[in-house]
Symmetry: C2
Subunit: 378 residues, 2 copies
């Protein structure tokens, strides 16, 4: 059963979108760097960064005054530049990364301080979604389920037995007004092995967990208070000081003491076990653009040989090359002769040459670059 | 029989080295460009360009006052910068390329005007030779054969049945004083097919023709006057004006009319048929560095996997990659993951990614770059 909404909550509690903007995107090096991580990049050729696209697709349910970005202190300037319509108070700077529960919990506590009990929807800044209308429809159902007291997630149709994603298992329909397709969640699973993933798909009960959560702030904070009382107390202390002159002092004292834990482990799994999590089945294409191979899948082919280019096609010369993925992001011409399924990423200070099959292993290159002491490239 | 030396020739006629510095090195693009062709590059990591190395290795037989470089007008500045010890008069500028007979014939005619009958040795500026003492020993024998009236070439030991080079076929020893290993040349051949090349090697009579010729200027010009009288007349006219105020006018009038022909066809083949060509067998390693695969063969391996780097090894990160050839000439870090025998050439405005097996086909890339209108990259 869901947590009961507090007595003072309105059925039509306002909706705020929270966008955690973090993660280095190591497997997209050298395009993605610690200083300019994945979410700041246009990875689809749409002319908008992943962060901007995330805000764009939420516009129908959350205008700029209802969007909160939580990001690392070093990225605040870039986030504001990319989202000039956002008020400064709508960009929350984490002094250091403390994992997703602290980031989303901070947003929940600050929203609760500022607006009382509202509905919060958390959507990572570095994902690609192909149908905004379907996404918005799912979010609207999720908001209704959240208003009814559920921690609600959006389950992504698993188009293949991926071992790169966690899964969410759904049960019965919940019969929530305005949320006809929302189902009970029976549980979450970690990334499975290939055999398990195949079994999941056969049952028809499993969807990918994209880490999207929609919940009342009061519900989230109550769950957190029960499951992780110290983390809850710390976040509430920080949130109370956030819009006061004491913010810096309190943050400096409290933030480094906060428990590092993902929201999946902190809230989603225990609350699901208690029957308090619901799921909207999302009917939209989704990808987390984890590496250059999945990036390639999102881009249209530029020739009959399945070649993909992210950037200016006039800067790419391909001969006897099929299925290549070329990213001319260094202002140079990139010429490829006689290699299939090759990945070439050109940036102003580093060039990567690998294969689509090796795209998942890029962390080894990043580690080697670090071992070489070339930290300015990371 | 060789042409008889003119009556006024001294046995100890002075030796001058002529270095034709031309050729774009298309198959070394994007390192080699029309504006900075192959001979201006250090392709061995020695710290000296191929042109500088060519002059260096001739030092024992030709000091700076005895070296003449013939190059395109647009490369004169770069040649002088790389060879500051050369007098301006020792760099001959061709207003346009008219093939090797015009280039070497001009040098011969100018030398004859300036110094009377001397011995001229022509050595291309874009070749790599691994043993200078052996090379110098061969040149010294060649000078003696030239003094005796022969057009003399240096034959390179054919270490494999290459189809990329022409061959020279040798006959009996000639018994020339100071040139004990010099043999009669029976003929020259064009680049053979693979089967023919194999047969050549089996006979033991064939060596690679590296295009090196050593001859008296008078002998060369006499042969030219007989075989190509118009070309001879034009070159003599230009040479007479060369060191006078009329040079520009005469060059402008005459040069564009000169026949375009290689010295091999113009002189070497007909004179060999008449018995006037001799060959010194060279006992040194030689390569014309025609493409990145032959470049790789010249470089030492930088790891146990046969990887080669031309440039700063600290700028190269290799993982799961054997036999790769990396040229980090763009000031960037180059990372390669999971590709064997790959060629990556990074320059400030173009990046090439290909394979060692495709290195010979690079002209197709250059053609594609030209078709794309990116002429500033060529």
């Amino acid at each position: 059963m869901p947590a009961m909404p507090p007595a003072n909550a309105q059925d039509a509690a306002e909706f705020y979108a929270v966008i955690p903007a973090g993660g280095a995107g190591t497997r997209l090096w050298p395009l993605s760097r610690s200083g300019t991580p994945k979410f700041l990049h246009d990875l689809t050729g749409a002319g908008r960064s992943l962060l901007q696209s995330t805000v764009d697709r939420l516009a129908a349910v959350a205008d700029d005054s209802h969007v909160l970005v939580v990001t690392g202190a070093r990225h605040v300037r870039a986030v504001r530049e990319q989202l000039p319509a956002l008020a400064d108070t709508n960009v929350l700077a984490e002094p250091s990364p403390r994992d997703s529960m602290a980031a989303i919990g901070l947003a929940a506590a600050v929203l609760q301080e500022r607006h009382g009990d509202v509905v919060l929807g958390s959507f990572a800044a570095d994902q690609v979604i192909t149908s905004t209308p379907s996404f918005v429809a799912a979010v609207r159902e999720g908001i209704e389920a959240a208003r009814a007291g559920y921690v609600t997630t959006i389950g992504i149709a698993a188009s293949r037995p991926s071992i790169a994603f966690g899964y969410v298992r759904s049960g019965e329909l919940l019969d929530i007004a305005g949320a006809p397709s929302v189902r009970q969640v029976l549980g979450f699973t970690e990334k499975p092995d290939a055999e398990t993933a195949r079994r999941y798909l056969e049952t028809g009960e499993y969807r990918w967990n994209a880490g999207m959560f929609i919940t009342r702030t009061s519900v989230l904070l109550d769950h957190l208070a029960r499951e992780h009382p110290d983390l809850h107390a710390g976040l509430v202390t920080v949130a109370r000081a956030w819009d006061t002159p004491e913010r810096d002092t309190v943050v400096a004292n409290v933030w480094p003491t906060l428990e590092r834990i993902a929201i999946d482990h902190a809230i989603a799994e225990p609350v699901a076990a208690a029957g308090g999590v619901a799921m909207v089945p999302g009917n939209f294409g989704w990808d987390d653009v984890g590496d250059f191979n999945s990036l390639a899948a999102l881009l249209p082919a530029v020739d009959g040989a399945g070649s993909k280019v992210l950037g200016d096609q006039d800067r790419v010369v391909r001969l006897a090359s099929a299925g290549s993925v070329i990213v001319p992001a260094g202002g140079r011409t990139v010429a490829v002769l006689g290699l299939d399924d090759v990945v070439v990423v050109d940036t102003p200070d580093a060039v990567l040459v690998t294969t689509r099959a090796r795209a998942q292993e890029l962390k080894s290159v990043v580690d080697a670059v670090r071992d070489r002491g070339l930290d300015d490239l990371l």
